[in-house]
Each structure stands twice: as C-alpha cells, then as structure tokens.
C-alpha cells in the first residue's frame, strides 16, 4: 500500500520488541495493544501482526491489491473512495481504492490493520518502529508521503462473512470493543480510573503521598509522547528525594519525577530508570491511557498484584471470545 499522506505521526507497530530489555532495547510496539489485536482479528490476522499506528489524525493510503482492512482505536470519519466506513469492522478494499482517515474525533491513536499484516522485515523478532534506535518498521522511522508498505500473505481459513458477523456482535455488545476498565464521570467528562499495583518503590513515599496519588485528578500535558504520558496534578512528595538506584522499567510504570509529577511510561519507554516508581498501571488499562489527549484527565486506583493478574486474564479471554466468533460458525 502507498502512503499518500502520513498524518502527524504514523508508523508501523506490532506487539513490541520484547525479550531484549537486558541489552537496553526499548519494547516499542502499539501503545493501545487491545485496539491492534481487535483490528488484526477482524481482518484475519494473528493478534500480533504489524499495522499502522496513527496519532491525532489518520493517514491517507492507496491500496495496490484487493484486501481487507479494519480501523480500530481512535474515532474518526474514515472514507473509502469518498464513502464513510464503520470502525471496528472488516472492510473489503479493491485494488486502487483510497482510504482517507482524517482527524480523530475522540481518542489519540488509531490503527489501520490490513489482511496479511504490514510485511516489513522483522528486527529482533519484531516489526515495530523504534525511532530512537532507527530500527524496525520502514527504515526505523515514521511514515512519509510516497512510502510503499508491503502487505503479507493472508492466513488461510478466513471467512469475511464471519468477521462481519463478529463486528455486528460488537455493535450489540460495545463493551467488547475495549478492555473492561473503570471510569468516573465529572461534568460530562469520562475519566478513566487507571488501576495500578503500588510499587515497586511505593515505600519511597509517605502514606499521605500515596493517598494524594490515588485520589488526585491528573491532566495529560502536551509534552507527552510514545515514551510516556506526562501528567500534571497534585504533587506527590517523596520521603528523601525521588532518585533511586536505576532499575528495570515496564510499560505502565509510573515514575514520580523530581517535581513530584507522575510520568506513565508507554511503549517507547527506556529499559531502566532512576526515578522512584510509585505504582504500575495494569496492561488492560494502558489502552485507555494511550488514548488520552493533552488536557484530558485520568486518576489512579490501587489494586493488588493478584487482582492485576486476574484482570489481565479477563482481557485475554475477551479477545479469545472475539477470535472464536471469527474462526467458527
């Protein structure tokens, strides 16, 4: 497929370059992994196939072969050869057709999945773009006007009609389109309550700071990016400064920086860091966090590691249910 217009930031992403953190390779991969998995399932791919992640606004893409696509994640009024198409549904695309994704009307990150997946060469087992190390994706960089992306071979046994039926089930049960998360409502705004396991350095903070962190409202600042969501809200004071001996970081780690403000690490996070981490947001809730725009609000809720494992399994089960709808009559 050909990129006619890339949008503000579009790049090839899959589920990430895992297993190389000990050597210092960042994970990368889609920030909203549920949206990527859903889009892939709808067009007959393994959940882990590579797609285009688009930020704030979508790309304009021309297809050079007949294929099936699915758009997931951020909301938009996407048009295929001028006709509006639904999100979270498989769409047949004839060779030569042009998809215009346009501005996102809600959410920050959209995914364009294509049957067969985006077939750039994997680096260390992943097709994800790592812009810092300039590896993966297309030449390790964001997409540009005029780029061509190869499409992989479709997996056998895909029935478009079953995928279309699954999309109808999703319309009846819209909660299946996203991981089940907790929300609060404030003046018409939906505020995600990001569930987080306290630690590993919660003991670097006095108990009133933990209460502040788990009760405050935090706004996303404009200097957030794929490395992390920088938040602004009630300052979280540490006991003796927030510097620690550097240790391993995961996607979802919440660092408290020197000024007491939290940074929620996303897919492009560094592998190690020297700020105390007060809590770790669980993977299912990172989908909601990855869709927050600058100015939008979020709050944190404490859960145990045991609850966190259970919630991760529920999310995986939800995707398995959708996969079964698509795989079997």
């Amino acid at each position: 497929m050909n990129i006619l217009f890339p949008g503000p930031l579009s790049a090839v992403q899959d589920m990430g370059r895992t297993g190389h953190a000990a050597q210092g390779y960042p994970e990368c991969g889609a920030c909203d992994k549920y949206a990527l998995a859903l889009g892939n399932l709808l067009c007959g791919n393994p959940e882990t196939a590579a797609a285009i992640e688009m930020t704030l606004a979508g790309a304009t893409v021309q297809f050079d072969q007949d294929t099936v696509i699915a758009l997931t994640g951020a909301a938009c009024d996407a048009k295929l050869d001028g006709q509006s198409i639904p999100l979270n549904a498989p769409m047949r695309v004839p060779a030569g057709a042009t998809l215009e994704t346009g501005m996102f009307t809600a959410g920050l990150r959209g995914y364009l999945c294509v049957q067969g997946g985006v077939d750039v060469a994997p680096v260390l087992g992943s097709r994800s773009t790592d812009q810092k190390c300039r590896i993966g994706g297309l030449e390790g960089r964001a997409l540009r006007k005029g780029d061509h992306l190869p499409i992989g071979k479709p997996a056998p046994g895909y029935a478009f009609s079953r995928a279309a039926h699954a999309a109808k089930v999703l319309l009846d049960k819209p909660w299946l389109m996203r991981p089940r998360t907790a929300h609060a409502y404030l003046g018409g705004q939906v505020i995600p309550l990001l569930r987080a396991v306290p630690g590993p350095q919660d003991d670097a903070f006095p108990s009133e700071s933990l209460r502040t962190f788990f009760s405050g409202l935090y706004a996303v600042t404009p200097d957030s990016n794929r490395m992390g969501v920088k938040l602004s809200g009630p300052a979280v004071a540490s006991k003796n400064g927030s510097d620690i001996l550097s240790d391993g970081i995961v996607e979802g780690s919440v660092q408290i920086s020197a000024n007491g403000q939290p940074i929620l690490m996303l897919a492009d996070h560094q592998t190690t860091g020297g700020y105390a981490k007060i809590a770790t947001v669980i993977a299912p809730d990172l989908s909601a966090a990855a869709q927050l725009r600058p100015g939008e609000l979020a709050a944190f809720r404490p859960i145990t590691a045991q609850q966190a494992v259970r919630l991760s399994r529920e999310t995986a089960q939800q995707l398995r249910y959708i996969k079964e709808l698509i795989d079997h009559d």
Binding site: T18, Y25, L245, G248, V250, A283, T304, L311, S312
Partner: protein
C-alpha cells in the same frame, strides 16, 4: 542470599538484592539471573538486571505474582554467598585522544595529570558491567579511578559518534550508537557494538578492560568489523 520481592503490575516481580552499588551486590544480581534462566520457570518471559535488583517479567496468562515470588525466594535461598558468578572479562580496544577523544586534554587538565597518565589510569583496571540501558548496549560501569572523575560538559553535544568512550561525573562508559550526550569523550572503540541480531560482546555481570590502540590499529579493526557485518 537475602531477597526483597516487590510487584511490578500484572507482569513483573522486582527482586531487590541490595541498596548500594557494589561488586558483591552486582555478583548477587548476576547469580540470581543465571539461576532464573537455568530453572526454566514456566511463564517467565525475560529478566532485566540492574545495579542492585533483577526485574523478572512473566506472562500473566501462564504465571502469577505469588508463584514467581516463591520461585525467586527458593532460587535465592539456594545461592550460597560465595557462589557468585565471576563473569567474563572482555577487552575493548580504544584509540585515545586526538580526533577520537576530543575531551582528553580537558579531562587531563581537570585531573592535573598528563594525557598519557589519564590513558594509563583509564586502561589500567577492569570495570564491572552492572547493567545495560539508556541505549542498546550502553554499559553502566563501576570502578572508575577517582582521579578521573570529571563533570559533564556544560553544553552537551548533539551528536556523539558511535563507539565513543567517555567520562561523565563518576562514571565511564561507551556510546554504542550515535547519540546526543554530555559526557567528556576521551577515546573511541572501533568495535561495532550496535548490531541488532548479533550478540553483544558483553552482558551485565561481565567486566570490561579498555586496551589502548593507535589510529592504524583502529582502522584495521574497524575494517574487519565492517566486513563482519556485510
């Protein structure tokens, strides 16, 4: 071996093995990491060693926090204090000074030493690799001679060439790839340290020894390295 285990969301356990940067703690981290890899515990996906801790990541569909913590406690209990893994010592050739290390005169001036003396001190010891991070293959090394402690540059460089060897405060290290940075550059290695898909010549737990070479040797090794990647 004493161990303090903390949860990292739904996918990790952080095993804390000390509170300071020391050879002993570093050896414990390396020993636990080896034990975890040898034990082939179901659901453990990767480990990330650091100065005084080991992050153990697991797949929440195949393992859980309590199970992983119990395994880590059992493995730590089996590691005797004297049973620390020594690691390998890896020679890293470095061409010091000149165009290869433009800040060597500044480091020498700050230390009140000659450039030759700085090279002798820097290449005269082995440095333990506590962890890799910041950039792929960037080693956090312990053991720099106090006389060589030098503050970072006031104005960081926007482009530091791959292979540069520098001093930043109390640390010394190697930039495996081109990057911005504020360290004082004293030399450069011709080794190609950023090569995705090829194993790094070192890992956390190993030690590095810097071996002085001249510009001719630098070019010879650099040519061999390029061939190795062709």
């Amino acid at each position: 071996m004493e161990i303090d285990i903390r949860p990292v969301g739904a996918c990790g356990a952080l095993a804390v093995l000390g509170s300071q940067i020391s050879e002993t703690t570093g050896a414990r981290v390396a020993a636990l990491e080896r034990a975890v890899h040898r034990a082939h515990i179901a659901g453990i996906t990767e480990t990330v060693p650091a100065f005084a801790s080991l992050l153990v990541r697991y797949d929440p569909l195949r393992a859980d926090y309590d199970g992983v913590s119990a395994e880590l406690r059992r493995l730590a209990g089996d590691i005797a204090a004297g049973n620390a893994h020594a690691g390998r010592t890896v020679d890293v050739p470095v061409c010091y000074g000149g165009a290869y290390g433009e800040d060597l005169p500044a480091v020498a001036r700050h230390a009140g030493l000659s450039e030759e003396e700085v090279i002798r001190l820097h290449s005269g010891r082995t440095y333990r690799i506590y962890m890799l991070g910041f950039l792929p293959g960037f080693p956090y090394l312990g053991g720099l001679d106090e006389r060589l402690f030098t503050p970072r540059r006031e104005t960081p460089r926007t482009r530091i060439p791959a292979g540069s060897v520098g001093i930043g405060g109390q640390q010394t290290g190697i930039y495996p790839m081109e990057s911005p940075g504020g360290w004082q550059l004293i030399g450069r290695t011709p080794l190609c340290l950023f090569a995705p898909g090829r194993d790094l010549p070192y890992a956390a737990g190993d030690s590095i020894r810097f071996v002085p070479i001249d510009a001719r040797e630098f070019e010879q090794i650099a040519a061999r390295e390029r061939e190795g990647h062709a």
